[in-house]
């Protein structure tokens, strides 16, 4: 009997502790994983304590007055309505407190914005709705990939139980070495996004047409998760950020692996493709890049996201469709996809021209995309 009870209690305790692991009812900033993060955390604590002290002071006085100066207790109102001394004091004292607060805020800010002398520089591009990472300088230079939400559609629409990292998991996380200064250059491809990783105390808007920067140096290995923080349209909630901070050795191994992968991926543009092979490859590209707007059935979500199935453009001359996919369409949600490779573009265009109600029977070859780029 008591054994059962103990087991039940242990089970409850385990359930409770796993809830803690998921940080339910978390009351404060996420545990910082960088020095700047710690300084921000401390700064917040200082300001909060100052506010709390003022709060207790002001509302202590108010509370006493509300209790002691009630008419029902027979209190008669005094008729004073001015007191220069008090008025000067309660202007000057807050001013002094504010100056005291501004000091640590200034030093923290200056440290936070000092992006000089990074070990690794990574360009982060916000797309509707995914992130692109290009390692520009330092170890891993040349690595480049896109990072998409990995949570399956059926979890979002309540057709499957939600995983532990629901909406905070991606296919290709950003990988960086621990203890190195990582400079992040942000830009946007279409609209404004914001790259936000709470534990690393980084949030930087990604403005289309401009480059802005931020930096972090992770103190601990681990996986840090964040999200896009600037409303960027329909799937704003569905473009998370995952940063894997690994040891120097693991990072070197990862870089080697990526380089190999990229070499394998650098498909020979002279390889001859047939329609079936292109369409098969294209379906994968479509799933990764197009499906959010144009939908798995190609019917889109008119009028913002037009249908591809039966579309005049998709069933018309190849050159028009290649041009649209390469350059996007000004004033609509259709972005430029020129960041994809020629093979990927050729494949996805071929796929859309031969799927659903579209039966052109034509293949678009990578060489045609190469030509159109020029």
């Amino acid at each position: 009997m008591s054994g059962k009870f103990v087991r039940a209690a242990a089970g409850l305790a385990m359930a409770a502790s796993s809830a803690v692991a998921q940080a339910a009812y978390q009351l404060n900033l996420q545990e910082p994983a960088s020095h700047i993060g710690e300084r921000v955390h401390d700064l917040h604590t200082i300001i909060l304590v100052i506010c709390l002290a003022i709060f207790i002071g002001v509302f202590g006085v108010l509370g006493y007055s509300l209790y002691a100066h009630r008419k029902s207790k027979g209190h008669v109102a005094a008729q004073f309505h001015e007191n220069t001394t008090v008025e000067v004091l309660w202007t000057v004292i807050p001013f002094v407190i504010l100056v005291l607060m501004a000091w640590p805020a200034t030093t923290t800010l200056l440290a936070m914005r000092d992006t000089t002398q990074p070990d690794i520089t990574i360009k982060v591009t916000g797309y509707q709705w995914k992130w692109g990472y290009d390692y520009l300088k330092g170890d891993g230079e040349g690595i480049s990939f896109l990072s998409n939400l990995a949570t399956p559609h059926n979890q979002i629409y309540e057709q499957a139980p939600k995983g532990e990292n629901y909406l905070l998991e991606v296919d290709n996380p950003l990988v960086v070495p621990v203890g190195r200064k990582i400079r992040v250059l942000t830009t946007g491809n279409d609209v404004i996004h914001a790259w936000y990783v709470p534990a690393l105390a980084v949030k930087q808007d990604a403005n289309p047409g401009f480059i802005r920067d931020a930096w972090f140096r992770a103190d601990r290995e681990g996986t840090y998760r964040g999200q896009c923080a600037e409303l960027c349209g329909k799937d704003h909630a569905f473009m998370p950020i995952v940063v894997e901070v690994v040891s120097q050795e693991k990072y070197a191994a990862w870089v080697g692996e990526q380089k190999k992968k990229m070499a394998a991926l650098a498909e020979d543009p002279n390889k001859t493709w047939d329609l079936a092979a292109l369409a098969e490859r294209g379906e994968k590209v479509y799933q990764a890049n197009c499906v959010a707007c144009h939908q798995p059935n190609g019917k889109g979500q008119p009028p913002a996201f037009p249908a591809l199935s039966g579309s005049k453009l998709v069933n018309g001359p190849k050159a028009d469709q290649i041009g649209l996919v390469l350059n996007g369409k000004q004033g609509t949600a259709m972005a430029s996809f020129k960041q994809l490779s020629d093979v990927e573009l050729a494949a996805v265009i071929t796929y859309t021209r031969n799927s659903w109600a579209n039966k052109t029977g034509e293949a678009v070859l990578p060489a045609e995309v190469t030509a159109a780029r020029k």
């Binding site: 504010l98 800010l109 936070m112 629901y166």
Partner: protein
């Protein structure tokens, strides 16, 4: 002030006006127009509130349940626009219309016909905002701040929204011209500028803010319109523009807008607190100066809404210092109210409860504002639920609570009937408790990193979102009680006295009966 009654005003036969619907369409009477503003504002409050409940219901649990992401974004956008431009701003214009002529001893507003026009511009604007939900593509999911270049992609509802903003701006500018002219030129003899009730002063300052910034907003949305349809590139880098330019222009409007909402609320509170403390307002002069300096400072701090756009660190430092400076005059106001209460003779009728609720919650919003003004902390909290919590403490607890307090305070004057005190207190406590249940927990969500404007969220945010959604429904339902109280007061409330609150000493209480005649102060009151 003397207690001489204006006997001329008591003859209702002076009130020649059409009856039925035409009375309201053609009226130039400040009291009729004030009433229409207030009912319009309440209607919009319900519409915006329903949108808020759609948002909170979708956020009750992780996963997508009741709306798709586009519709969700549209709900957050129009909830904000409707509450700011449709509910809160017209509410205080309604107070201004009703009270300013009576408080300064004027017969009506300076430009009665323009007053009629500035009200009747509002319903078409509201219809545009509502119609935007039903055009192809649905409402524009761009946020109430309407940041470019997302707005350039948005469906045609964006154009309806832009025109609605234009019309609302025209209405506000006309209303402001009217208010300034009325207060400057139509005061009764002896009613000097430093003698008018503080509510009038707050409206003078607000009206100047409105005239200064509404054209700026109109400019920003017009640039968006031409970017969308006429090939300009104000906000498009490829054409030599800059998307961040929009944010600078918007917030040059947007920050003063915060005070456009808050300052008349300060005015209402500065009438209520002395009345129930039975003691004059502490530091009238310093209140006027503090309000004016808040207004001036509000033009100098706009970029604190944009700390993460990537401006130079020097600019961040400047905006941080300027922003924390606002805490000084705001603090002065709070201290003045506390000093007014100090050693008064206090009673706690519903208006006073709302005023105290305002004082408590607005101060909380002020503290979180101070936290957000510090750049390194704001970088963590910008665009998270912490910001959502912060501005709802300022807007709902600040402006809305003060509007509720004002309604309870002046309803006996306006209708000549007294509301039910017990029900009024219920309304206060339900609103106060559910407001905190809804929004207090959002501070924690924001600190933990939940971005705002997302229809779905990860599992660690689930618990607080449940609490917040329950609070929102409670808060929404409590407002049905408010409607009931107001309607039953108008229909069957007990007759109110001329000076229903013994501590109230402005002209509408000392010189006019409850309800006041249709045309009051046709001859100016005699003031000593």
């Amino acid at each position: 002030m003397s207690a001489v009654l204006d006997t001329h005003g008591q003859h209702d036969e002076h009130a020649h006006h059409p009856s039925g619907i035409m009375r309201w369409v053609t009226t130039t009477n400040h009291k009729d127009i004030g009433t229409m503003y207030l009912w319009f504002s309440f209607t919009m409050f319900i519409v915006g509130g329903i949108m808020a409940l759609v948002i909170r219901t979708e956020l009750f649990a992780p996963g997508m349940q009741i709306v798709d992401p586009d519709r969700f974004n549209a709900m957050t956008t129009y909830h904000g626009l409707i509450m700011v431009f449709g509910a809160i701003m017209p509410a205080f214009v309604g107070f201004a219309n009703w009270l300013i002529p009576m408080q300064i001893g004027a017969p009506d507003m300076a430009f009665p016909r323009m007053n009629n026009l500035s009200f009747w511009l509002l319903p078409p604007a509201a219809l545009l905002l509502i119609a935007a939900q039903f055009v192809p593509g649905g409402g524009a999911g761009v946020g109430w701040t309407m940041y470019a270049p997302l707005t350039v992609q948005a469906p045609m509802s964006m154009d309806l929204t832009i025109f609605a903003v234009h019309i609302l701006g025209m209405s506000s500018i006309m209303g402001s011209i009217n208010i300034i002219t009325t207060i400057f030129n139509m005061r009764a003899p002896g009613m000097g500028m430093m003698r008018i009730p503080l509510f009038c002063w707050t409206w003078v300052i607000t009206a100047f803010l409105l005239i200064a910034v509404m054209p700026v907003l109109a400019g920003a949305v017009t640039m968006t319109l031409t970017d969308r349809h006429f090939g300009t590139a104000f906000f498009n880098a490829a054409g030599g523009g800059d998307p961040v330019l929009y944010q600078h222009i918007f917030w040059f409007f947007g920050h003063p807008e915060v005070y456009i909402i808050a300052i008349p609320a300060f005015g209402v509170i500065s009438q209520i607190i002395p009345a129930f403390s039975r003691k004059p307002l502490f530091g009238y002069t310093s209140m006027v100066y503090a309000t004016a300096s808040i207004a001036v400072l509000s033009f100098l701090v706009w970029a604190h809404h944009m700390y993460t756009v990537g401006m130079p660190v020097e600019a961040q430092l400047y905006f941080m210092y300027a922003t924390v400076l606002i805490a000084v005059p705001t603090g002065v106001k709070v201290f003045n109210w506390v000093a007014t209460i100090w050693r008064g003779s206090l009673t706690f009728e519903t208006p006073m409860l709302f005023a105290l609720g305002f004082l408590f919650l607005f101060t909380m919003g002020g503290f979180t504002g101070l936290v957000l003004s510090i750049v390194p902390i704001d970088v963590q909290l910008h665009d998270t639920y912490y910001v959502v919590a912060h501005f709802h403490y300022v807007m709902v607890a600040g402006a809305l609570f003060s509007a509720f307090g004002g309604i309870y305070f002046w309803l006996p004057k306006w209708t000549g009937r007294m509301y039910n005190e017990t029900l009024g207190k219920w309304h206060f406590w339900l609103s106060f408790i559910f407001f905190n249940v809804t929004f207090f927990v959002q501070h924690f969500l924001g600190l933990a990193g939940m971005p705002r404007r997302i229809p779905d969220y990860s599992l660690q945010f689930a618990e607080f979102n449940v609490i917040s959604s329950i609070g929102a429904w409670g808060f929404g339902l409590a407002q049905i009680l408010f409607l009931y109280i107001v309607v039953s007061t108008i229909r069957s409330g007990k007759p109110a006295e001329q000076r229903q609150w013994e501590g109230a000493d402005s002209l509408e209480w000392t010189h006019l009966p409850s309800p006041p005649p249709y045309h009051s102060f046709e001859t100016p009151p005699v003031l000593r």
